[in-house]
Subunit: 141 residues, 2 copies
Amino acid sequence: MFIVKIFSIHKTKEKWLQEAICEYEKRLKNNFLIKWEICKDEADLEKKILNESFFICLDEKGQKLTSLDFSKKLFEFFQSNNLKINFLIGSDVGISKKIKDKASFVLSLSDLTFTHQMIRLILIEQIYRAYQIHENTKYHK
Amino acid sequence: MFIVKIFSIHKTKEKWLQEAICEYEKRLKNNFLIKWEICKDEADLEKKILNESFFICLDEKGQKLTSLDFSKKLFEFFQSNNLKINFLIGSDVGISKKIKDKASFVLSLSDLTFTHQMIRLILIEQIYRAYQIHENTKYHK
């Protein structure tokens, strides 16, 4: 079982977002445990994430990958981290330098700026896609 | 009134996607007319799009822009095309060379591959964001 923990500040209030995320969680549930860690504020997020030995930051200034490369990297990270990966979605003001400096990897989804809602949805779909690529199914073809 | 016509093949079946898109259409409705042109198949899409004098293709191999640059370009295009822009979302196999060669601009949303559902949602949110940037509101700040 692969364990993915996603740290963020904002709650998922939108019904459509809950439904969309739920769809991917359902598809992943046999092989993945997805945990959403909602932090109270920036300070809470920083405290919690800095306790983790391995985490990936999502940040506009990070490295850009294709879905194939993301899949490869994700499963390398799973291998080297006892099948457990933490992701961090920052707040509107971005992620502090302190956190970014400690991150194991900083990933940019796009040059475009997305809403937090969209980032959450894109991330879980890319995790699902990465798994399908890893399993060599038809999803990504 | 700005007119945006989005050509694609796949229908929006997912309820969550309809709700999400509807939210942005509602926010845009005072200033934008958004039309979804669903084509039967590739041939139908090709026939319809090649009748248009100006269209933007969404394609992984296109040009990547920040949201600020997308906003700038979008409103330049509106200016030079009587406030009307067509977008084209291709099928799973991508967009034919014939169409790409005739496109006024080829835009890539990301190095990552997204589902058609996601592309539709990202596009309409970016149009909304572009308008907010253009109007200098707080949305993008």
